[in-house]
């Protein structure tokens, strides 16, 4: 068994991680109830007349646009596994919601937004920081539309060689070269396999 660099990391409780699931359910009801009584009338009540309904029911709120926001980016990457532990980057607090920023297009003519993700290694000399960064980067490049530029870096002051690592992560050619490496790809695939 290989020695782990940090054998006993601090773990956050899943219920304390930021999540959209929690928010979306909090639709304030006018009457202050939780909707317990809504289920009393079954979904397929006789009261619905199939001949009276608009035949193609489009969702009433279909016009509203749900933008890609920080929480969505967080949800994309927080379930990536740590290469050392069978734990998610979210529960190890390697990725944190406040460290994700979406910068709007710099000029009105441009459509390119930038996603900046700052990762916090569990210990300051973690040599796997680059791999984690690469995993986050790969995941975002696969999952975000091309109008987003992805910028993954180590949070300042959380790693002994953060500058060097950032240089590696920012260098397109080095990233591309790294992804050619079979062993590294194997590690990345395993990390990303737990993504939700």
């Amino acid at each position: 068994m290989d020695d782990k660099q940090n054998a006993n990391p601090t773990i956050l409780s899943l219920s304390d991680l930021p999540s959209r699931r929690r928010e979306s359910n909090v639709r304030r009801r006018d009457d202050g109830g939780t909707g317990l009584f809504d289920g009393l009338i079954p979904q397929y009540s006789y009261l619905n007349d199939p001949f009276e309904q608009p035949l193609s029911s489009s969702d009433s709120d279909d016009d509203s646009v749900e933008d890609i926001d920080e929480q969505e980016v967080y949800d994309l990457i927080s379930s990536i596994s740590d290469p050392e532990h069978p734990l998610s980057l979210g529960s190890l607090a390697v990725v944190n919601l406040p460290d994700i920023h979406i910068q709007p297009p710099s000029s009105p003519h441009s459509s390119i937004s930038t996603v900046v993700v700052e990762i916090t290694p569990t210990i300051t000399h973690c040599s796997l920081a680059t791999v984690i960064g690469l995993g986050v980067r790969t995941r975002l490049e696969q999952a975000l539309p091309p109008r987003f530029r992805v910028d993954v870096r180590i949070k300042k002051g959380t790693h002994s060689t953060d500058e060097a690592v950032n240089k590696q992560l920012g260098d397109k050619e080095r990233v591309a070269a790294a992804l050619e490496n079979g062993t590294l790809m194997g590690v990345l695939r395993k990390m990303l396999s737990t993504c939700e």
């Binding site: 219920s15 397929y44 009261l47 007349d49």
Partner: protein, 1021 residues
């Protein structure tokens, strides 16, 4: 030619023929045509042959003949002679397997005495050891079967042999040395287990242990088409039983197992852990105590540094097994075992919450409930440190981590000592647990934590609620005063606390109250009910808070013990609110609460036929209020949804009443106790005053609640024709019309006899209704048709075979074809009124029946239909498919695929698309080979539906469903089929990644990630 010659001739050519020869000899022997002596004489020459093969075959012949001879043909003397003869042949190295077979055949024909059994065992050991010298598995196998039989039936004889010959066991062990065949090993393990478990093995223990442990770990993998069906697991199980069979093995087993625990193979580690667990269980407390601490030191590593989740689980099982075994012995060893565990866990808890503190919590909670002694020792060892740590903790996360462990310990305590209603595994006479000493402190910490920590500390407060709940459940721990304090805090949270976040705290508080009500109903009624009632005004002045309180209060009806009280209080509140002219909103909320409570207690209503009090107290007053026109008729009762609630409340009470009780109501089905003659009211009087129509909704629910034997207030044909007439009134409100149509379905389903059902549609097809007249077809008639069919089809009546074709013809009706097509989705749609609970007749096979009558005809007619009519058939098809479980559809799926794919091209028919995607997804999952050849067209259509089309936008629901279905494709279809589309799918899905809806984006991300993997998987191969 003698039999033996013939046998020798056939033996190598045709085994079956050879057996026939042996069979023939056996028959002759039985009939007396052949003397045994003669048979042996004939054999003599061949037994003395120079050629070993011939000698072996001769023995095979003898063994086969003996196997065919019926019982009682051979005398005892003959059998003894034969035994001696066969045994003497074991000196010859040839045909040893056949010797064993012959002996087995003889044994089946007459039991041996002890001496005979011992001689056989001795002779085999002397002449054939080691067994591995015989290269053929088929030679060794019968020998092993013979020995197995000896051990099974002559156990004492062999045991005596062991006691009288000091070197017997070592020779016995050596005999099996080097066996490799899995079939034989299964026997060897079971043979060796007898001396292990039953004999005094003394100095041979290590040899005996090594004889089986040499095979550890089993790495055997059966060949692909293994005819013998022996799996690695079978071997592992037998081997494990051997290792754990005697405590004498402990000095060899534990060091050897722990050594193998360092293996890098997960399979080996799993075997080791399982073997340790079963060994500990079998070896007993004395032996286990010698190794318990060594084992703890090794096993803890697997839990504190989890490699694989299931290994940690196995290691935990091992630790628990040790604790359990030691609990059976004296207290000293148990103490000695738990001491280092407690020490280590306490240390890890100090830096909670970390990976290792979580592991420590797992250890503690796994072990804690194995016995009262363990519970007491763990609680006494951990609670003091835990509370000290808690007091000095500097952050909430740590406090939460500690309390979580505490809650697990309380739960273990409940497992062992029981709750208020049932005793635990320790039984009723158990002494008080160690928890009692910390009662005050625990209660204070938890109450204080819940009361004072800020609302945003959700996870912490949730643990506190859980802790208080568990504490209140522990048998004879808290007094009613203390439980009252907990209840007070919980209902204060439910009633008074500001709403926060997802309101998990409020929810958990009310659920806890329900659970406490199960344990201590009277305390909850005394303490919490008045608080709830105080919050519910008799009349509301625009305040909105009461709904939340009502919801919480209604939930308490979940608990049987307080159900009646909840209903009573709600009913009183309702009467008060009506007499005080409360707002409609408040009245609706009260009715909803009553309905919710009754639904939760409906089991109770059904078990207790004496529901007349509910009828007198709730149903009757509600019905009178509904129909009256004076002050007792609340404003809210003019609203159709309120009347629906009223109807449902009445339904739930009335449906479990007896036929006699129901008939009293049935005669008032439409009059509802208002004193007006029935003929002046709907549905009999289409020109009844406008105010009287709405009560049809309540009548519908009453009709639904009646038993089939209950007498209706008028002739059934008259009722049906009145309803058909009534529902076609153009100025009916939609709910009243729907309710009346549903009455039609209910009457047809429940009250027609099977014979009458076949002709019930007859009168409706004639004037004045002429339901199926193509030129008179209009929306009101279409509704009536489907309402009638709904009642009939659930009974799977044969008349459907006549009715459905007419309906299918209408699909190409120039004007109403589309309307008819949409109606098809109502046929099999689940229905909340036509149910078995409502005494309706629902045939188990009605879906199959309608499917068989409709779907093949639709696919047929689709082919012949004109282009503009084709969509109607697709719509009708999806209307049926969307309600069917896939196993009904599966056989027809090959003929449906093309229609389903074309459904995906329809514009604006979103339900149709959704149903088609659903069926395609099921087909992919269950029967992918059907879709294989359409892969290209499936993939491109799903892609087209995944991406938002500005021209004909589909709802997000459909786009997401298309993505999810597309994700299944690479999982289910062959790689070479899918691979060519990878690039196209990944490129086109980029657009879906930028969908306006989150739901679609998330499905698209997953789908695309799956497709990106497609060629990576190919690289690996």
């Amino acid at each position: 030619m003698s039999d033996i010659q013939q046998f020798l001739l056939e033996h190598d050519r045709n085994k079956h023929e050879a057996s026939q020869v042996a069979q023939k000899s056996a028959t002759r022997l039985t009939d007396g045509d052949l003397k045994l002596l003669k048979l042996i004489e004939e054999l003599g020459e061949y037994f003395n042959s120079e050629d070993g093969a011939i000698r072996a075959k001769s023995m095979a012949y003898l063994a086969e003949v003996l196997g065919f001879v019926p019982p009682k043909v051979l005398s005892l003397q003959q059998r003894n002679l034969l035994c001696d003869f066969v045994l003497s042949r074991t000196e010859d190295g040839e045909g040893i397997g056949s010797c064993a077979k012959a002996l087995l055949a003889l044994e089946e024909r007459g039991k041996w005495d002890s001496e005979r059994a011992q001689t056989i065992m001795d002779t085999f050991l002397a002449n054939t050891s080691p067994l591995r010298q015989y290269k053929q598995q088929s030679e060794r196998y019968p020998v092993l079967r013979l020995i197995d039989a000896l051990l099974a039936r002559y156990r004492d004889a062999l045991s005596t042999l062991h006691d009288s010959q000091p070197d017997f066991l070592s020779r016995f062990i050596a005999y099996f040395d080097g066996e490799k065949d899995p079939r034989n090993l299964m026997l060897v393990f079971s043979i060796l287990r007898v001396p292990m478990a039953e004999w005094n093995i003394g100095a041979d223990a290590q040899d005996l242990f090594d004889a089986v442990f040499n095979y550890f770990p089993i790495t055997f993998r059966p060949p692909p088409d293994d005819p013998y069906g022996i799996t690695a697991q079978d071997l592992k199980d037998r081997l494990r039983e051997c290792i754990s069979s005697t405590a004498d093995f402990a000095p060899y087993a534990f060091p050897a197992l722990l050594d193998k625990l360092d293996s890098t193979s997960m399979n080996t580690k799993r075997d080791v852990l399982q073997t340790i667990t079963s060994s500990v269980q079998e070896y007993g407390p004395r032996t286990t105590s010698l190794y318990s601490i060594t084992l703890w030191d090794a096993l803890k590593f697997e839990i504190l540094n989890v490699q694989e989740e299931d290994l940690a689980e196995e290691a935990l099982n091992g630790l628990a097994a040790i604790a359990q075994t030691l609990s059976k012995g004296t207290s000293g060893p148990l103490n000695a075992y738990l001491r280092p565990i407690i020490k280590e866990c306490n240390e890890h808890l100090e830096d909670a919450p970390t990976k290792q503190s979580q592991a420590a919590a797992r250890i503690v909670s796994k072990i804690a409930n194995v016995s009262p002694d363990v519970t007491n020792l763990l609680l006494a060892g951990i609670l003091p440190t835990m509370f000290t740590l808690f007091q000095s903790a500097d952050n909430m996360a740590k406090r939460r981590g500690l309390l979580e462990v505490f809650v697990e310990l309380i739960k273990a305590n409940i497992d062992v000592y029981g709750d208020w209603r049932a005793t635990g595994s320790a039984g009723a006479s158990a002494p008080k647990g160690a928890l009692a000493q910390f009662r005050e402190q625990a209660l204070e910490v938890l109450l204080h934590g819940l009361e004072t920590s800020p609302a945003n500390n959700v996870s912490y407060r949730l643990v506190c609620v859980d802790g208080l709940l568990q504490l209140s459940k522990v048998r004879e721990l808290l007094g009613e005063d203390d439980i009252g304090k907990i209840i007070h805090l919980l209902h204060a949270i439910v009633i008074h606390e500001e709403s926060f976040g997802k309101d998990e705290i409020k929810e958990s508080a009310i659920n806890s109250l329900v659970e406490i009500a199960h344990q201590k109903p009277q305390v909850v009624i005394d303490k919490a009910f008045p608080a709830f009632m105080a919050q519910l005004p008799d009349t509301d002045e625009g305040s909105k808070g009461h709904v939340a309180v009502l919801e919480a209060f209604a939930k308490l009806a979940n608990e049987e013990e307080v159900f009646d009280t909840v209903i009573l209080r709600l009913k009183n509140k309702f009467s008060a609110a009506v007499s005080q002219n409360a707002s409609s909103g408040y009245i609706v909320a009260l009715l909803s609460a009553i309905l919710y409570a009754l639904t939760k207690g409906s089991n109770k209503l059904e078990q207790d036929p004496n529901t007349s009090t509910y009828y007198q107290d709730i149903v009757l007053p509600l019905l009178k209020r509904t129909s009256s026109a004076d002050a007792s008729h609340p404003e809210a009762f003019n609203d159709e949804t309120t009347l629906d609630l009223v109807g449902r409340i009445c339904n739930i009470v009335v449906r479990s009443q007896s036929t006699e009780q129901q008939e009293a109501i049935a005669s008032e089905l439409y009059t509802l106790f208002r004193g007006t003659p029935q003929a002046e009211l709907p549905p009999f009087n289409t020109s009844a005053p406008p105010g009287t129509h709405k009560t049809m909704i309540v009548s519908t629910h009453l009709l639904a609640s009646f038993r089939r034997e209950t007498r209706l207030p008028c002739e059934i044909e008259f009722l049906v024709s009145s309803l058909v007439n009534y529902t076609q009134q153009p100025d009916l409100s939609i709910p009243v019309r729907s309710a009346s149509l549903r009455q039609l379905s209910l009457v047809i389903n429940k009250f027609y006899s099977t014979a009458a059902l076949k002709t019930c549609m007859g009168p409706l097809m004639e004037a004045p209704f002429e339901l199926f007249h193509p030129e008179k077809l209009d929306p009101p008639r279409i509704r009536v048709i489907f309402a009638c069919l709904k009642g009939i089809l659930l009974r799977s009546s044969p008349v459907l075979a006549k009715l459905y074709p007419q309906l299918l013809d209408f699909l190409s009706h120039p004007k109403y074809g589309a309307a008819i097509a949409h109606g098809f989705s109502t046929l099999l749609q689940p229905d909340d009124l036509i149910t078995k609970q409502n005494h309706c007749q629902v045939s188990g096979l009605h879906k199959q029946k309608s499917f068989a009558l409709l779907v093949p005809n639709i696919t047929q007619a689709f082919r012949d239909a004109s282009a503009e009519m084709k969509p109607n058939y697709l719509i009708a098809l999806s209307g049926i498919l969307r309600w069917l479980p896939f196993d009904i559809v599966v056989e027809e799926v090959p003929s449906l695929i093309l229609l389903l794919l074309q459904s995906l091209d329809l514009k604006g028919e979103d339900f149709v698309k959704e149903a088609a995607i659903g069926t395609l997804a099921s087909t992919l999952a269950e029967k992918p080979e059907v879709v294989q050849e359409y892969a290209g067209s499936l993939i491109s259509r799903l892609l087209a539906n995944s991406v938002l089309d500005k021209e004909a936008p589909t709802p997000a629901r459909v786009r997401a469903a298309a993505c999810r279905c597309l994700m299944l494709v690479p999982d289910k279809l062959k790689l070479e089929v899918v691979l060519p589309y990878r690039r196209q799918v990944c490129r086109k899905l980029i657009a879906a990644l930028d969908d306006t809806k989150r739901e679609v984006r998330s499905a698209a991300v997953k789908c695309r990630a799956r497709w990106l993997e497609v060629d990576e998987a190919g690289d690996d191969d």
